[in-house]
Assembly symmetry: C2
């Protein structure tokens, strides 16, 4: 393995880590930031992503060595003092462990769907632009063994720094792709024999009285606006029963409840 | 109603709003901050809390008038420009609506439990110190019509600014009390005929194979450490089935799944 001591925050090698809070690496450079040991261990074990480099505070290195020896990353491992790390990143990195990953080209929707098993559970997202919610939805998709996540073009990037962190690495683990408007996604899902069920607070049927189809796609929209009318009209809608006088569930929470109910995990 | 124009950020009347991000009003002054129209409407309708004052950006007042006319708050309504509001609060208050509420004395645990119906669903929290999680748990408790929340002494205050905001006002709506160590709470729950079930990822039984007792208390601990060993030993434990290779659920998400399953809301 290739360990490189970093003495100064302005060294050229660690430019990708500079002021990472203010920049959207994912959008601009085809890169993303992995923070902390748990997320880094997902990155180093990921099949479709690879690490470009790691940046570790020196006193964190001993605790990280078993992971590095197991996964043998080919990339440089930069090692710095906490002060230099904080100066590079532009904030106090209390976890002391960062990595830069490389994005890969996402498959087209048809290829993505064709690669799924005969019995499959998908999460489909329309217009989710909150990074925390995207991250939490990926975490829940992983927890309930969903086979993938499909995002329409109006959702934000799941590889944004905060989404990856909130997902506890699941954004690097759960297969996903993002492409086109939601109505095209519905066409593709239907032509691949998916039953698409839209979660909507005003739906007449609830999830608990609905049998699980073999290929199920659960569609979720934003908390405020909900799913667009043409989408709701076209699909079967389902609600999660909640108190009549209460507004709504968080979208990631709604996803978790529906996934927990519909997953084929041993109950 | 008593409207008061505020021209300068240093006026004495609005001292409670000064730099509200940096201060924990709840802990230090017996007050709390309500942000935004939705939370404010819960506060103005609350039975156990009252508003000490409101601070509204002038262009938000027309939209707020129906609520004010309906609830007729006795407190002063301070009205300021956006610039003065932002200077007072110490950040850009994009919702343009703030309120200061007064905490009330919480009932003792025995009184709290004695006041619950014959058939009741409670959430009991041990060691939850993350304000977002506390807020999200209250939101879910309200959504699934739980009868109350019981917090041990090591949990953080649900009336912290961020908790109230994340709860979408549910922290001002769902009855709760906070008192003493978790083992005392268990004693009190048992002497009031509650079946206490602890959610734990390593439990042998899962929630979906468990009938709902009439009086059910769901106990949740922190995501990292989980519940203390003496607590787990004493109680029936239940898990939510998740993928074997995945770490854990967010604690508020786990609460939502269990509440959705055990609630008596029409399914």
């Amino acid at each position: 393995m290739q360990f490189v001591a970093v003495e100064r925050a302005d060294q050229a090698e660690i430019a990708a880590y500079r002021h990472i809070r203010e920049r959207d690496l994912a959008g601009r450079h085809g890169l993303f930031v992995a923070e902390g040991k748990v997320v880094l261990s997902v990155l180093l074990r990921a099949r479709v992503f690879s690490a470009q480099s790691l940046l570790v505070v020196e006193n964190r290195l001993p605790g990280l060595m078993p992971l590095l020896e197991e996964t043998k990353p080919a990339c440089p491992v930069y090692v710095a003092s906490q002060a230099v790390m904080d100066e590079i990143a532009g904030f106090h990195v209390h976890r002391g462990i960062l990595g830069i990953g490389c994005k890969t080209a996402r498959p087209g929707v048809a290829d993505f769907l064709a690669g799924l098993p005969e019995e499959a559970l998908l999460v489909v997202l329309c217009g989710i632009t909150n990074h925390d919610n995207i991250g939490a939805i990926f975490r829940n998709a992983a927890a309930f063994a969903a086979d993938g996540v499909l995002l329409d073009e109006t959702c934000c990037d799941p590889l944004y720094r905060k989404s990856i962190r909130v997902s506890v690495g699941a954004a690097l683990k759960v297969p996903y792709t993002q492409d086109g408007p939601v109505l095209s996604l519905l066409d593709a899902l239907e032509s691949h024999d998916f039953s698409v069920m839209a979660l909507s607070p005003s739906a007449p049927l609830d999830i608990y009285h609905q049998p699980r189809p073999k290929k199920l796609a659960l569609l979720l929209g934003t908390e405020g606006e909900g799913l667009p009318e043409p989408v709701l009209k076209r699909l079967q809608t389902l609600r999660i029963p909640i108190a009549a006088d209460f507004d709504s569930l968080n979208v990631a929470t709604a996803a978790a409840i529906a996934l927990s109910h519909f997953t084929r995990l041993e109950h």
